[in-house]
Amino acid sequence: MSTALPPTGTGALAKREARLAWGLLAPTLISVALVVVLPLLAVIWISFKPFALSDLRPPAPIVRESLRGSGDEMRVEYRVRNSSQEETIQGVTLRDHVPEGVEIIGDLPEVCTLTGRDLFCDFGDMEGGERERLRLPITANLDEDTLEAAVEDSEPTMTGAGKSVLTSPALSMENYKRLFDGGEFWTVFGVTMFYTVFGTIGALVMGLFGALLLNKSFTGQGLVRGLYLFPYVAPVIAVAFTWVTLFDPFSGSANALLIQMGVTESAINFFGDRPLALIMVTVFEIWRYFPLSFLFILARMQSIDSSMYEAADMDGASPFQKFWLLSLPQLLGILSVLFLLRFIWTFNKFDDIFLLTGGNAGTRTLTVNVYEQAFAISNIGAGAAVAVVILLCLLCFSFFFFKFISREEGL
């Protein structure tokens, strides 16, 4: 008699479930791969290329056709040039149709042949920045307007392609060299760390304070909680511009108030002066994101078992003791997870500083530097190099994060 054994291996049902699971995940996987993974690889690739904003289009031959002269001295001119100043374009040819009623007289230029009414010119390779001009004298039995229309109606077609910087296999460390040359990188890195560390800690402390305030039920608690979430819910662009207006050195209310209260004699340029601008953007960051920590800490507080506090009351613990010895240890988990998450996201923050100062006055963080390099200086390669540095930093952070998060369940 054979003994019954539990089934081993993957059964048919498990297989079917796994197949269904992957099927359900497929759309997400594909879209995320397309929009996240692919661009990330692209950024790493570009960071090794000297790639400027103007290189977005691959070099191509550009032609302009025009009708010159009048009466007997008529000619068609083709002006061909290489769109790129550096790259060579291979196999440049031009094809055009000679309209009815137009005859080419005289010798054709060397590079051209005429078969029937089809003109074909072969320019071979064009160096970067090279220009060519073809003059074809013509006679025509059409009046001038129709002639012009006829000549210009037939668009010449060009062939020939250059290597785009993007697809050529040559790699260079140029971008990285320039990035680490001089002390600028470390200044930017220092600013980023200041912004990130103080922004994160500030938001956490404020959030903790706010949560302690609201951790009791009273009428209107929901309303106050909603109110305290305003900074986070409102569009960043609206609140950032409001801050800029509020702290404007000329027409800002904050300055008027400070002068009136005798705190300062003359207007302070909050977002324009060095160290102050950095402090202000950090304060903005704290202001905008304390609601988030507040909400999470409050949610955690409300789930702490109240019997613990009752026991503490029986033992005669004072309010501060209860906070330090009971609440804080209970909140340590959520606080550390929040710290890590907020740290990473503050590190990633771009919009806020970009809108407040544009990265001026000593507030340029790494993320703003990506934009600055790529679009203000039009060097996409350099921007990508900064982006890769950011990614490397994030890789380190997320390593810590996952070490923690596996311990701290629930988030």
């Binding site: 990330l40 305030l213 929040l338 996201w345 771009f350 996409i380 982006a387 994030l394």
Partner: protein, 402 residues
């Protein structure tokens, strides 16, 4: 330190500084006139008041009211806790007096309740400090949250001239009537804000729809099925959370420029959901895990297919979660600025945030910018306040995305 006659004056002095600053700032913002708190005098008055409030129990209301009243009346002289400048209307001074005196009396009575004059126990002392901190906290948080929004709304109603003349004067001249809303009218008439509003709206709704269509099946698979790579998958979702948008925006800009998707709503609608799918997936899978499997198994036993179970059982059960996620995604899409800023150049295709960014130029007056900010903020705020319960749940459900 733990003596009533020390604690009382210290808390009183600190509280009066808070009170005086609050009243001065509030009155300045409301009337535009000059109010200035005097810190040293505040310390003095507050200490005296604190002393009297611990010395005299509530039944000696006369002593308590007298000190608060005298202190408030002192505002008329140069030795009050708040001095007023030239040309402040007497009614404004009266309001400030009442606010200061009343606020001081009520708060001191509350903060120093059950605080004896002599030695305090640890409990009494800490309770008084906590009550002080609570009062301070409410004033502080309410002020920092409300002031920017107040400035935003009021600036949008002023004229450039009035603003430059006295940046503090936010008093609204009701007599101007519809003229007040000139900036708004001009934005809708000359700057196409109606179109932007509509574009933002349907882009956000489409984003929500696409996000849900992608993330519901994905979340269900992660929550319910066991398959190889499940753990790695949930981790990589979190990892994607951590990639900064600006890093992705760079190659997306290049790709969109090359394919001609830049400057098109289609491109925006393609890209927005992908930024929200990981968030939504993460939030939803947490919720699906919490649903009892028994109901679904019963459905399976009765012959429903897995997909039918999702459609007929799981989704109806998770409507609150779907609402939270939808709201959250809507908010992200509505508030999104970076991608719209980089990918849209054609004013006829702007979203609202991109339109507001356009107003930030020296040629366009400030009140237009603020009016634009108000237009961008109001719909999301209305939605938020109306559905606050869902929203806070959505925010805490598993997203800490900033």
């Amino acid at each position: 330190m733990r003596k009533g006659f020390i604690t009382g004056p210290v808390l009183g002095a600190l509280w009066l500084i808070v009170m005086a600053t609050t009243v001065a700032v509030a009155m300045s913002f409301a009337t535009g006139a000059a109010f200035r708190p005097q810190l040293l005098l505040c310390l003095l008055w507050g200490a005296v008041a604190g002393l009297i409030y611990v010395r005299f129990a509530p039944r000696h209301a006369l002593a308590r009211l007298t000190i608060s009243g005298v202190m408030a009346l002192a505002m008329a002289s140069p030795v009050g806790p708040v001095v007023t400048g030239e040309g402040v209307s007497s009614s404004a001074v009266l309001v400030a007096m009442i606010a200061l005196g009343g606020g001081m009396h009520l708060a001191m009575a509350a903060i120093l309740q059950d605080t004896p004059f002599g030695t305090l126990t640890r409990h009494e002392y800490e309770a008084a400090v906590i009550r002080f901190l609570t009062g301070f906290g409410y004033i502080f948080f309410t002020a920092i949250v409300l002031i920017p929004f107040y400035v935003m709304v009021m600036t949008s109603l002023k004229s450039q001239q009035a603003l430059l003349q006295n940046p503090l004067d936010f008093s609204v001249e009701i007599s101007k009537g519809a003229e007040l809303f000139r900036s708004y009218v001009e934005l809708f008439r000359d700057f196409n804000f109606g179109t932007y509003l509509w574009t933002s709206f349907y882009v956000s709704v489409l984003t929500v729809a696409i996000t849900l269509a992608f993330s519901v099946p994905g979340a269900y698979a992660v929550a319910r099925f066991r398959f190889k790579g499940q753990k790695a998958f949930s981790r990589s979702i979190l990892l994607i959370y951590m990639v900064p948008m600006i890093v992705l925006a760079l190659p997306i800009y290049i790709a969109f420029s090359m394919t001609g998707l830049r400057n098109s709503i289609l491109g925006i609608v393609m890209i927005y959901p992908v930024t929200t799918i990981p968030v939504a997936l993460y939030m939803l899978q947490g919720y699906f895990r919490g649903l009892p499997t028994e109901v679904e198994e019963a459905g399976l036993m009765d012959g429903l297919s897995r997909l039918a179970v999702i459609w007929k059982i799981t989704l109806p059960l998770s409507l609150p979660a779907l609402a939270s996620v939808s709201l959250y995604v809507f908010m992200i899409a509505w508030n999104e600025f970076l991608l719209a800023f980089m990918l849209l150049d054609d004013p006829s295709k702007f979203t609202l945030t991109r339109g507001v960014a356009m107003l930030n130029s020296s040629e366009i007056p400030r009140q237009h910018l603020m009016a634009g900010a108000v237009i961008a903020t109001v719909p999301i705020m209305v939605l938020f306040l109306g559905l606050e319960r869902f929203m806070t749940k959505g925010l805490t459900a598993g997203s800490v995305k900033g």
